[in-house]
Amino acid sequence: MRFSEEFETRFADMLTHYPTKRSALVPTLLYAQDEIGSLSDEVIQELAQRLELTELEVRNVISYYSMLTTKPRGKYNVQVCTNIACMLRGGEELLDHCKKKLGIGHQGTTQDGLFSLEEVECIGACSWAPAAQVNYDFHENLTNTKMDQILDNYKKKGTQ
């Protein structure tokens, strides 16, 4: 299992932040997922060995956090907030619209592997509700039309 140099630098740095190796697990998982796309068996095996944990322990932690996944996601993970502020401003309708447009449900991935869709809890953008997050980018004050545009842009970007 090989990671990028950038990952290795971050990982080495991360180990110096904690008194015990195992404490670096959560950030390391996140970096690995960002790089590989998901936490495959291979990744789990490698990180367990590096942090002196059992694979079971690594899986336990992954299963606890909803942002960590063992299944491959689409290139763009569309996370639509339906928590209270967004819900009042049409978040649920926005989610329904995305489902229809992408033809997938909650935690589904499009056939072309470009998009995944997820209904998420508060992403901290209540002032600009309804909001959605695509990978690490925020999109705010959304309407169906605006959402279409955003998705189309990603599609263009992704198929170039």
């Binding site: 059992t54 694979e55 079971l56 322990e57 899986r59 336990n60 299963s63 606890y64």
Partner: protein, 788 residues
């Protein structure tokens, strides 16, 4: 630290500073209920059942995580507390199936007890219960997910207790589940601790599930018949067609040296008794074929032939092989029978450790051996050779627990990176067979340093590291030193010499099988009588037993040579399988008259002239001495009809030979004996046995088949065995003093053949256990033990 004073439910109590409130309450008889708290395991605070009201604290506190403080005022049973607990039970019952009538835990379920105590008869939940099918995680572990109350006891005992870490918790909140390490199954040591510790019926055992209700069993606590650690196992028994059947083994009452620990063998491997090949009829060879016969026929045949050989060819033409699994009484009786009735010193057994060397090294030096309990409390432990995780699971458990809870220092010297290395403060990897060199080095022989610090040993220590390790070990006080069969004869003497230079060091010699130490101490040797008394001059036993042969007899291998040469006319094998276990060519015995007492038609029984169906250790009464020298009572639990204990068979053979049985087993004569009061020329010799019984307030035994009669004689005659009978009968273990034994001489180290059993094998016995075999088949990756 000083004790602190606090008030619980209006009662003034004191508890050591730093004690947990739940323990302080328990010690004065106030029960605080809890699911997740378990003594010895890390604190979880998950179940919230142990909440109590502590004055001046805003909310209810969990007694399992609160330490006692001076002046604390606690209420454990107020309305508020009861209300909170009731609500917890209600929540737990929210998704718990009400299948108690068919649940294995029904009747001994902690959740059931709590529902009974706090009466959560109503539920506000209207939703359908979330059902999941039960899963089989291994041949012995089943998981019924909806029954789980997420106390995490199983996760902790598997990880912290066993150091296996095969169980974990996945997901979060209400969807949390206990998960095995291999997605849908377990890859573990199959000890069953998770099942044992489960407060409900979420984890159940393949061996016991759906077989019986807990209240339909009787319970007998006896000693495990597998390895030499001497764990106490409480067997659940019930009547069946063929006698009394054992259906369950555990040690839930935490009696015995093992507390609640048992490995797979102690917990499940009692099933060999019900194997379809179990012998329940004597067999006599007629026209070259073993044919069923009556007991009378069999005993008559044996008695006649043994007498013929003894009278015509002398006792030297008869050989006797004893067992590592029969009781002390049976071994003592066999040793006595061989010398007194058969007139032979050709007595031996499958040796797995050099106990005589330990006895010789410690002769006259009392207090130098450690008990199994000492391993749990010693500040330091040195382990030389052996792999306790596989061969001595309880010893490994004691070591791990001691390191974890008391921060004991463990030092390991081994030729393999054994699992206990993970607990070790120091680990010295040596080349295979160089354990003795390491001992010599510890004792100060620096000339061996080069071979130990060989750079060719991967992961080996450097010269400086070896010297540093030696310095650390030498500085330890009250250390327990456990060593395997890698050390024999002079090596043990050297180690004992080294130990005597340390402050308070104590030794443990590790041998295989449940009573190999007992076989040693009862004199199943060609040159040693009970208590390691040499056969010459043997004054004590000449006086007690009568005229004994004084020539050193033949060892097991010499007996086989004699058989080959045609000079060993008869061989009496009790509970042993030398052909199968020691690779003896069965053809060697073709000219001898061979009698075998065993449960199965083993490789040895197969070539015998007479085979007698024996009862196993779970089916008889007596005592066992574990590998540390702890004496414990073995109690009869099961019964298979038409088998006999080896004890009775030895007596009946002696009788069939026409010898006086009362000279063999002291019974019945107590009330008429001369108690030693009469004096003068006319007086008979005092009946020393009767005098001893009288002095120890013991009754004379009424039948020659009562093993307790021989226990009386053992306690009277075998050095070190004179421990409290009351304590023994109460089921307590008592450490024996080896220092009082006779000064035995060194044995030929070649005669020691370690069993090399692992967690899932147990000599010949293991082959007949369905559970052990099913685990083996399940673990395809584990290599098969060679030819058993």
């Amino acid at each position: 630290m000083a004790d602190v004073n606090l008030i619980v439910d209006g009662k003034k109590i004191t508890a050591p500073a730093g004690a947990l409130l739940i323990e302080a309450c328990k010690n004065v008889g106030i029960e605080v209920p809890s699911f997740c708290y378990y003594p010895g395991l890390s604190l979880q605070g998950a179940c919230r059942m142990c909440v109590v009201k502590v004055e001046k604290m805003p909310k209810l506190q969990t007694a399992c995580t609160t330490t006692v403080t001076e002046g604390m005022i606690v209420a454990t049973d107020s309305d508020e507390v009861r209300q909170a607990r009731k609500a917890m039970v209600e929540l737990l019952l929210g998704n718990h199936p009400l299948d108690c009538p068919v649940c294995d835990a029904g009747g001994e379920c902690e959740l059931q007890d709590m529902a009974f105590s706090y009466g959560a008869a109503e539920s506000k939940f209207m939703e359908a219960k979330n059902h999941k099918e039960e899963q089989q995680w291994s041949p012995v572990v089943y998981f019924d997910r909806p029954r789980c109350i997420l106390c995490y006891r199983c996760v902790r005992v598997c990880g912290e207790g066993m150091d296996v870490w095969a169980l974990g918790v996945q997901n979060r909140g209400v969807s949390s589940i206990i998960a095995p390490n291999q997605e849908d199954h377990l890859d573990c040591e199959e000890c069953g601790m998770c099942i044992d510790i489960c407060p409900v019926g979420a984890l159940t055992s393949g061996a016991y599930r759906y077989k019986t209700r807990p209240w339909e069993m009787n319970h007998v606590s006896t000693i495990c018949t597998h390895c030499g650690d001497g764990c106490k196992t409480t067997l659940g028994v019930r009547q069946c067609d063929t006698g009394t059947e054992i259906v369950r083994g555990d040690n839930r009452d935490k009696s015995g040296i093992n507390n609640d620990f048992l490995c797979i063998k102690g917990r499940y491997a009692f099933d060999f008794a019900y194997h379809k090949e179990r012998l329940t009829q004597p067999l006599i060879r007629k026209n070259g074929k073993l044919t069923p016969a009556t007991w009378e026929e069999a005993f008559e045949r044996i008695g006649k032939r043994f007498r013929e050989v003894r009278d015509q060819d002398g006792g030297g033409a008869i050989g006797v092989i004893g067992s590592n699994r029969t009781t002390n009484e049976e071994n003592y009786l066999l040793s006595k029978f061989a010398r007194v009735v058969l007139k032979t010193n050709n007595v031996d057994h499958h040796r797995t450790a050099d106990y005589p060397a330990l006895a010789a090294a410690l002769h006259g030096k009392p207090g130098k051996t450690a008990s199994m309990r000492d391993v749990l409390t010693a500040p330091a432990i040195l382990l030389i050779g052996n792999d306790p995780t596989n061969q001595h699971p309880l010893l490994a458990w004691q070591i791990r627990t001691n390191v974890r809870l008391r921060r004991a220092k463990l030092y390991v010297i081994n030729s393999a990176p054994i699992k206990l290395r993970r607990q070790a403060a120091g680990f010295g990897l040596v080349p295979a067979g160089a354990e003795a060199k390491a001992v010599a080095f510890l004792a100060g022989d620096d000339s061996l340093l080069d071979s130990l610090a060989d750079s060719k040993i991967a992961d080996g220590l450097t010269r400086d590291a070896w010297i540093a390790l030696r310095e650390t070990i030498r500085a330890e006080q009250n250390m327990v030193i456990a060593f395997g069969s890698e050390l024999r004869a002079q090596d043990i003497e050297k180690l004992a010499g080294f130990a005597s230079t340390l402050t308070g060091a104590k030794l443990i010699c590790l041998g295989d099988y449940s009573n190999s130490r007992g076989a040693s101490e009862m004199g199943i040797y060609p040159d040693l009588l009970p208590g390691y008394e040499p056969v010459t001059p043997a004054d004590k036993f000449q006086k007690e037993w009568g005229n004994l042969p004084t020539e050193k007899g033949l060892s097991l291998l010499e007996m086989m040579d004699a058989a080959k040469a045609g000079t060993l006319k008869a061989l009496y094998v009790v509970g042993s399988n030398p052909v199968g276990r020691l690779g003896i060519d069965p053809f060697v015995l073709s000219k001898s008259f061979v009698v075998v007492q065993d449960m199965f038609l083993t490789e040895t029984a197969n070539i015998a002239d007479v085979v007698l169906p024996a009862a196993n250790a779970y089916e008889k009464t007596g005592t066992y001495t574990n590998t540390c020298g702890d004496l414990q009572l073995v109690k009869k639990a099961g019964e298979v009809s038409n088998t006999k204990p080896d004890f009775e068979m030895i007596v009946r053979i002696a009788d069939a030979m026409g010898s006086d049985v009362s000279g063999l087993v002291p019974f019945g004569s107590g009330t008429h004996s001369d108690m030693g009061q009469t004096r003068g020329a006319q007086s008979g010799e005092a009946d020393r046995h009767a005098v001893w019984l009288e002095a120890h307030n013991l009754e004379p035994k009424m039948t020659p088949f009562d093993p307790m009669a021989i226990l009386d004689e053992i306690q009277r005659l075998v050095a070190g065995y004179d421990v409290s009978r009351v304590n023994l009968l109460a089921g307590n273990d008592q450490h024996l003093e080896i220092a009082a034994s006779g000064a035995s001489s060194f044995q030929d180290p070649v005669l020691i053949v370690p069993a090399n059993d692992n967690l899932f094998s147990s000599g010949t016995l293991g082959r007949y256990s369905k559970t052990l075999n099913s685990v083996y088949e399940n673990k395809s990756a584990v290599p098969e033990v060679a030819a058993d």
